[in-house]
Amino acid sequence: MRRSLLLRFTYRWPRERPGLPHLPHALDLQLARVAQWFHATSDTTRLAILEFLSQRDRAAGELIQLLGVPPSRVSFHLTVLTESGLIRRYRDGRRRLYSLRGETLDLMLTFMRTVLPGAHVGTCPLSCCQAGLPYQ
């Protein structure tokens, strides 16, 4: 089996976890998806890739040169970023370029705004607001 194909099946993240049920969210965000964005950005090499791509779209070869990391590592990090929806790959003539997806970054910002102290969105996914907890 081709390595890229193997990667696609091996690193599908996050896996279904039976523990947490899917809770309806006020922003219509799936928490698994939100966790996946933050997982993708929780590595210094991947952050460097995002910073390079924020300047302009680049090919994988350029990124390998700029980062000084083995091609297989860069390929792995690009797969994680693509699966999380933070970057996309497109074809430009004979080259394959990677670009940032602004809409995902916008969603991340929206999420960050709703978790500021006091900014609690009205319909708490865990109904912590109506649970009749002590010290309410």
Binding site: P14, R17, L20, L31, A32, V34, A35, Q36, F38, H39, T41, S42, D43, T44, L47, A48, L50, E51, F52, L53, S54, Q55, R56, L66, S99, L100, G102, L105, M108, L109, M112, R113, T114, V115, L116, P117, G118, A119, H120, V121, C124, P125, L126, S127, C128, C129, A131, L133, P134, Y135
Partner: protein, 108 residues
């Protein structure tokens, strides 16, 4: 964003790592309402206290939450400055937004 206040990549990675788990996202969402003690979080999230302590430690080490002692109770609250820094960082990596202050000097 200038070079001077640009955070270290490892610090940025630790913020995002702290938010890369559903349980921790739930904790942060609950704390965005108001300060809460461990017992309230435990009751709503329905997880063992040992696991909750672990998740709280990760959030605390990343500087996302802070504790405040009140008598025998410890209350956890969000750290506004860190959340603002995360939002600022996310804004700075928008396509085309790239400022001249690249941490890895890809610009020159």
């Amino acid at each position: 964003m200038t070079t001077a206040i640009r955070p270290q990549p490892t610090l940025v990675a630790s913020w995002f790592h702290a938010l890369a788990d559903e349980t921790r996202i739930n904790i942060v969402e609950m704390l965005s309402h108001k300060e809460r003690c461990v017992c309230e979080l435990e009751q709503v999230l329905d997880i063992a206290q040992s696991r909750l302590s672990f998740h709280i430690k990760v959030l605390k080490d990343a500087g996302l939450i802070a504790d405040r002692k009140e008598g025998r109770w410890v209350f956890y609250g969000l750290q506004r400055e860190t959340l603002d820094q995360i939002a600022a960082y996310t804004k700075s990596v928008k396509p085309g937004k790239h400022a001249g202050s690249c941490a890895v000097a890809c610009c020159d």
